[in-house]
């Protein structure tokens, strides 16, 4: 599995998949889409960050979080607070009764900037907070839950409740957060107007760059022993625990990783869309993020990106022409993905397209194993019972630990 040089890796099957995605995002889409549509694709891609995080956390480690919108929102709000402060100079807000604070605070009779807004004058603090705040919250939640061995269904319901808490809090505390409208009217980033077409195109490419960074981090984690332990944990948690691993620590780590991805995605969302509001992060939004991941393939990092792109593109397309039909389509998607192809598009691809590819390019089986051992081991057949497939893996790992 180790390849000596990066150049060689790009010639492997997995490398080609990454190259293909890069070509699609960097070359094909910018060429065929006008700036408005490209901006929309950029928005979809910000959800891909969350979906990739969910692949790690749900697909690999088996921790279904229904509150990824919380982390997406925290990242997004951190960025929005910085941009809002930049847009609310005393000159720009001279007509307010208290110039120099964001307009919605003025409307809500606040006369001074709340303490937790103060640090967001600093750009470097904001950049740290975009990742730091979601990770901190994820760490606290993870520490509280996983060390007490709360998992599965209970964890999902509690994260959903946390998403509800955050949305109610944001909507209720209008003076501090902008309420249901969110933080709007964002204009510049360090003096650079983010509303022009050129800026939006640049932001799109930044977003693609960040996404690939996340993809490689996720791939790195997946291909190390760490990633195998996550998968093993999903299949047979007690066995991993009895083998001497601290299961809670691994779970906290992967939950924080997913939160960090979601936070970055949220910040990019704010920059690309130009505002942030509770409707993007609540319970409904959070659970839709799960379907991006599920449709793409809950075990495939790249599948998640395609899932996020496809569902969102379909959503835009449907709701433009048949707004009535979209909820039906979305509902059918949830049911269909779960019942018919639990491993999503990536699973379908693996079972139907890959054998075809093999025949086409006359690859023999040994070569295939050579190029993609990790992927192959990690992805069970779509219909197969999980535990049966994973068992041999764990056994093959037990000699590794001392």
């Amino acid at each position: 599995m180790k390849t000596s040089s990066p150049m060689k890796w790009f010639a492997t099957r997995e490398g080609l998949y990454y190259l293909g995605l890069a070509a699609l995002l960097v070359i094909i889409l910018p060429l065929i889409l006008d700036p408005f549509r490209l901006n929309m694709v950029g928005k979809y891609l910000t959800y891909a960050f969350v979906a990739v995080g969910l692949v790690m956390c749900w697909g690999k480690a088996g921790i279904l979080s229904l509150g990824q919108g919380v982390f997406f929102g925290l990242g997004g709000y951190c960025m929005a607070m910085f941009l809002k402060l930049e847009a609310s100079t005393p000159e720009a807000t001279a007509i307010q009764s208290t110039p120099g604070i964001p307009d919605f605070m003025d409307w809500n009779q606040l006369t001074a900037l709340p303490w937790f807004w103060e640090p967001f004058h600093s750009f470097s603090f904001t950049l740290i907070a975009v990742i730091g705040v979601p990770v901190l919250l994820a760490f606290v939640i993870g520490l509280a839950m996983f060390t007490r061995r709360v998992g599965g269904v209970y964890f999902a319901i509690i994260t959903q409740a946390i998403a509800a808490v955050l949305t109610i809090l944001i909507i209720g505390q209008q003076g501090f957060t902008g309420g249901v409208n969110g933080i709007t009217d964002l204009q510049t980033l360090k003096g650079w107007d983010i509303r022009t077409d050129e800026a939006r195109t640049t932001l799109y490419f930044v977003c693609v760059g960040m996404l690939f960074l996340c993809l490689f981090v996720a791939r790195f984690v997946q291909n190390r022993k760490l990633g195998r332990i996550l998968v093993a944990m999903n299949a047979q948690e007690t066995r991993v625990r009895f083998s001497g691993y601290d299961v809670a620590a691994f779970k906290i780590f992967v939950f924080c990783l997913a939160a960090a991805f979601a936070g970055v995605g949220g910040a990019m969302f704010t920059l690309i869309v130009g505002f942030m509001s509770p409707s993007f992060i609540g319970i409904v939004a959070s659970i839709e993020m799960v379907i991006f991941c599920a449709l793409g393939g809950r075990l495939s990092i790249l599948g998640a990106v395609y899932g996020a792109l496809l569902v969102n593109a379909a959503k835009s397309g449907f709701s433009e022409s048949f707004p009535e039909l979209w909820p039906f389509a979305m509902g059918a998607l949830f049911i269909g993905v779960v019942l018919a192809f639990p491993n999503g598009m990536a699973g379908l691809y693996q079972s139907y397209v890959m054998p075809l590819e093999d025949r086409l390019f006359k690859r023999n089986k040994g070569q295939k194993l050579d190029t993609k051992p990790a992927e192959k081991a990690a992805e069970p057949k779509p219909t197969a019972e999980k535990t049966d497939d994973y068992d041999p893996m764990i056994d093959s790992y037990s000699p590794e630990k001392s």
């Binding site: 599965g152 209970y154 979305m330 949830f334 779960v338």
Partner: protein, 308 residues
């Protein structure tokens, strides 16, 4: 937050808010009872439970319309017909859903969550297409209007009281069904040891279907009762589903008593805090406390003692 109130004022505030919280309590109990038997006994997370409830509410709405147009003389009693109808409509749909979807997913509880969420989206949009996006309400029969005056501060509306009585009688009925009947014995046998239950001749697939249908039917009755105290829209079910799941989990998934106790605690906490804080802050605080307690006691308040 208690500044500026004398102790006697505080007492009457607590009493007043306590009675006000009772209607929230009945909604929680009605919704949570159906969920508890589905989630606690079968391990299925039914995110479409709220939509089954709304189906019951729409059934009641249609029934009341029917009685108003064709049987105005019997209007005072339409509610009992509606309740029975709502139960059977929802139970039938529940059995269908179980057969089409749920039975394939018994070993994957998290996937039941996603699939039923999809079902809830479809049902919601169906209501929106059929009944329109506006909320509908039913006309209450004469005898349900009005209120008892307990003290000069505390008033008990009759419809609220009626709903509470329904909630409690369903709870009692469910207890008898689950712990004092042959059917309940079979359900518990299947939950505890499926292969063994099958070996002694229990049709476990049939039990599963009946239990799911029963849970959905109770949701339908809940919806019928719900129309007595509020109006119904396509998305009203979703507004309660997260709270109700917390009620179920907080009470301990397999315990009926736990569900009632936790519904009481959560609704009272929320209602009391609402007086002192804003409604949204009261809800946030309540949820946070519940989440906090769940971290200390992951199995819920009244869980069976099992080895983890």
């Amino acid at each position: 937050m208690f500044d500026g109130y004398t102790s006697s004022e505080l007492m009457s505030i607590f009493a007043m808010q306590g009675f006000a919280g009772l209607s929230l309590f009945s909604v929680f109990v009605l919704m949570a009872l159906g969920l508890t038997i589905i989630f606690g006994q079968m391990g299925v997370i039914n995110m479409a439970h709220g939509e089954f409830m709304i189906l019951g509410a729409y059934t009641t709405y249609l029934t009341s319309g029917f009685f108003q147009s064709y049987l105005p003389g019997l209007f005072g009693g339409y509610f009992f017909v509606a309740m029975i109808l709502a139960f059977f409509v929802c139970a039938a749909l529940g059995a269908l859903v179980e057969w089409l979807m749920i039975r394939h997913l018994y070993h994957r509880p998290l996937d039941t969550l996603l699939a039923t969420w999809g079902l809830s989206l479809i049902m919601q949009q169906a209501y929106r297409s059929i009944f329109g996006a506006r909320e509908v309400g039913v006309d209450l029969p004469e005898w349900m209007l009005g209120a008892f005056n307990v003290t000069d501060l505390v008033q008990l509306p009759i419809n609220g009281l009626f709903v509470m009585i329904i909630a409690l009688s369903i709870a009692v009925g469910l207890y008898l069904l689950m712990y004092r009947s042959g059917y309940g014995k079979k359900v518990r046998a299947v939950v505890q040891n499926r292969p063994m239950a099958e070996a002694v001749g229990i049709n476990s697939a049939g039990i599963d279907r009946a239990t799911f249908a029963l849970g959905c039917g109770i949701a339908g009755v809940a919806g019928a009762a719900f129309t007595m105290i509020g109006s119904t829209g396509p998305s009203s079910g979703q507004a309660y589903i997260v709270d109700t799941f917390l009620v179920v989990v907080f009470g301990g998934a397999q315990s009926l008593i736990g569900t009632i106790v936790s519904a009481f605690g959560i609704s009272q906490a929320q209602s009391t805090m609402e007086f002192f804080l804003s409604g949204s802050m009261a809800k946030v605080l309540t949820l946070l406390v519940v989440i906090g307690i769940l971290m200390l006691r992951p199995e819920g308040l009244m869980a069976l003692k099992v080895r983890r």
